[in-house]
Amino acid sequence: MINKVNMAILKKKFIAKDTIEFVLKNEFISHHASPGQFLHILIDGLTLRRPVSIADIDKSSNEVTIAFKIVGTGTKKLASYEPGQSIDVLGPLGNGFDISNTHPKKVLLIGGGIGIPPLYHLGKRLSENNVKIISILGYQTKESVFYEREFQELGDTYVVTDDGTHGYQGLVTDVLTKVSSFDTFYTCGPTPMLKAIKERLSNSDGYVSLEERMGCGIGACLACVIPTSDGEGYKKICQDGPVFHAKEVNLS
C-alpha cells in the first residue's frame, strides 16, 4: 500500500562530506515499509520527485531515517530543510529485498557510496532474525565514509576507499576474497560496481538494488525501465524493483 504523507523532520545530521541524514516521523511509512523500499520526495520548486531509500526504521517511535548525498539541485534543496519543517512523501515505494521467503544463515552486504543506506536497514532486520552479516562498504575517500560503526555493530565490516585514505585501497570487489562463504549477497551502489559484482559473484545467489531517473515512481510512466536478462522485455525499477534478483536483469 502506497500513500502520500507528510513526514516531519525530527533530526538533521551531516554524517559525511555532502551527506545528510534525516530522521523523519510518520506512522504509516514506519509500519508499512520494508528494507530496500524507497520514498519519493517532493522538493519545493521541482517538477519531479526524488527517490531516496529508507536507511532505518524504528517502528516503536514511528521514526524513519534516510541518508542522502548532495549531487544536484534537488538534493541541495532538500539538504536546506530543517527540523520542524516537513516533507511531502510518496511511499513506501518499490519491491524491497526479499527476506521473508529465503532463510539465509549468513549474508554478504556490498554497498557503494550512497547505495549503502538501504543495506543498513536490511542488515538490521536480518540481524534481528539472527542472520550473520558481513559487510563490504566502498567510498570515494575518507571524508565520504558514514555508517561504518553502525555496520560494524552488525558484523564483520570491510571498508574500502578509492584513494586508500581510509580502510583498504581499491574497489569493493578487491576485498571479496577476504570474505569466506555466504548464502546470499545483497548489493546497492553505482551501476559499474553492480556489474562487476554480478560478474565476480555469478555463481552465488544475490540481489541487486538499482537506480534510474524516475518520473512517477509508481509504475505508470515507464521512465525507469531496465531490460530483463532474457532480452525479451523490461522491468520497472520503481515498481518491480528497485531490488532484483541478480540473474533477472541486464546491467549494461
Binding site: 500500500m1 502506497i2 502520500k4 517532493l42 521541482l46 517538477t47 519531479l48 520527485r49 539541485t73 534537488g74 510518496l90 534510474e212 531517473r213 524516475m214 518520473g215 512517477c216 515512481g217 509508481i218 509504475g219 505508470a220 510512466c221 515507464l222 521512465a223 525507469c224 525501465v225 531496465i226 531490460p227 522485455g233 523490461y234 515498481q239
Partner: protein
C-alpha cells in the same frame, strides 16, 4: 456547480482527464483514488505491436518542466484491448484510446482494432510524438500528411477522432484547419516541445535518445497561445493540455478556448492532482463569475475594438 461537458463521443461529468502517457492505463493511480471521479482517461499510446521504447535515462528535470523520451513503449493494441480496457471499463468514466504509428497503415490498423471493443469512447490520434525515429511527429508537422492520416483513420473507425497536434510547428492553425477539413471531430493540444539537456559530467545529452519532449508548467504559455489562435479558426472542440497544475490553470485554458483539459506531468508531482483539481474547480469558476464549464470556454478571446498598438 455543473461541471459536465459533452463533446463528440464523450459525455463527461467534468472536463478533467489524465493525459496520455502520464497515467499508464490507470491501474497504478486506481490505488490512490476512484477513477470514476474523472471525466475521462486518456490511455498511453497504442501501436500495432509491442514496443520496448528508448534506452534510459528517459526523463530529466528542467526549469518548471521535464523532458521525456519514453519512445511509445506499450504492449501493443491487442494486449491493451485484452488486458487494460476491461480494467478501466469497470469505472464510470469515459475512455479515450490514444493511437500512434510509424506509417499510415499502422495508424489505420490500430484505429480499426479498437472497433473490437465497446468500451472506448473516442480516439486520440497522436501525430505529434517527438520521441520516435519514424512516424509520430512527421505526420504532425505537415498539414497534408496530418490530413491524410486523419482521413484514413476516420474511414476505418466508428469512433470520434481527436487529433493531437504538435507545437513544434511554424503554423499550428494550418495543421488544425487541415485535420478539421479531413474530418477530425476534435483537437487535442498540445503535445510536448522538442528539447534537450546537456549532462555536464558526461558531456553528452542527458536523455539517452538525445532529444526529449518538454512538458510541464514551462510550456503553459505556448499551449495557451496555440489554443487561442486555433480556437478562432476551427469549429471543432479542443482538449487543452500543457503544464496544467491547478484549477486556476484549467480556467485559463477554458478562457483561451479549450472545451476540456488533460493533465500530464502534474500527476508525477502529485498523484492526487486530478481529483484535487476536480474538487477545486467549482470554487474557482465561482470566484470568477462562471456557472458552468461551457460558459467559460473561449471567453478570453478578445477582439480589440480598434488597433491600439503603434506597430
Amino acid at each position: 456547480m455543473n461541471l459536465s461537458v459533452n463533446l463528440p463521443g464523450l459525455s463527461m461529468k467534468n472536463p478533467i482527464m489524465p493525459a496520455s502517457g502520464c497515467f499508464g492505463f490507470g491501474r497504478e493511480y486506481s490505488s490512490f483514488f476512484d477513477l470514476s471521479t474523472l471525466g475521462a482517461v486518456i490511455m498511453k499510446s497504442a501501436t500495432k505491436n509491442e514496443r520496448l521504447g528508448n534506452p534510459t535515462p528517459r526523463v530529466a528535470e528542467t526549469s518548471s518542466g521535464m523532458l521525456n523520451a519514453i519512445g511509445l513503449q506499450n504492449p501493443g493494441v491487442e494486449k491493451i484491448i485484452e488486458s487494460e480496457i476491461p480494467f478501466l471499463a469497470d469505472y464510470d468514466t469515459c475512455i479515450i484510446a490514444n493511437i500512434a504509428g510509424s506509417s499510415v497503415e499502422e495508424y489505420e490498423y490500430v484505429a480499426e482494432s479498437f472497433n473490437q471493443t465497446d468500451h472506448v469512447d473516442a480516439l486520440e490520434l497522436n501525430i505529434s510524438c517527438p520521441n520516435v525515429k519514424e512516424g509520430g511527429i512527421q505526420f504532425g508537422t505537415d498539414p497534408y500528411m496530418a490530413a491524410f492520416v486523419t482521413e484514413t483513420v476516420k474511414k476505418v473507425t466508428n469512433l470520434p477522432v481527436y487529433v493531437k497536434l504538435s507545437p513544434n510547428v511554424t503554423d499550428i492553425v494550418a495543421i488544425a484547419k487541415a485535420v478539421e477539413s479531413a474530418g477530425a471531430d476534435g483537437l487535442s493540444m498540445i503535445n510536448t516541445l522538442t528539447g534537450m539537456q546537456m549532462h555536464l559530467p558526461s558531456q553528452k545529452p542527458l536523455i539517452a535518445n538525445k532529444t526529449g519532449g518538454l512538458s510541464g508548467p514551462a510550456i503553459k504559455p505556448i499551449a495557451i497561445r496555440m489554443i487561442y489562435e486555433v480556437k478562432q479558426q476551427v469549429s471543432i472542440p479542443i482538449i487543452g493540455m500543457g503544464g496544467i497544475a491547478n484549477a486556476e490553470d484549467v480556467l485559463e485554458f477554458l478562457l483561451a478556448g479549450a472545451n476540456a483539459v488533460a493533465i500530464g506531468t502534474a500527476n508525477f508531482n502529485n498523484p492526487f492532482i486530478c481529483p484535487e483539481i476536480i474538487n477545486g474547480l467549482p470554487n474557482v469558476l465561482n470566484k470568477y463569475g462562471f456557472h458552468s464549464i461551457n460558459e467559460a470556454v473561449g471567453k478570453g478571446i478578445f477582439h480589440e475594438p480598434a488597433d491600439l498598438s503603434s506597430s
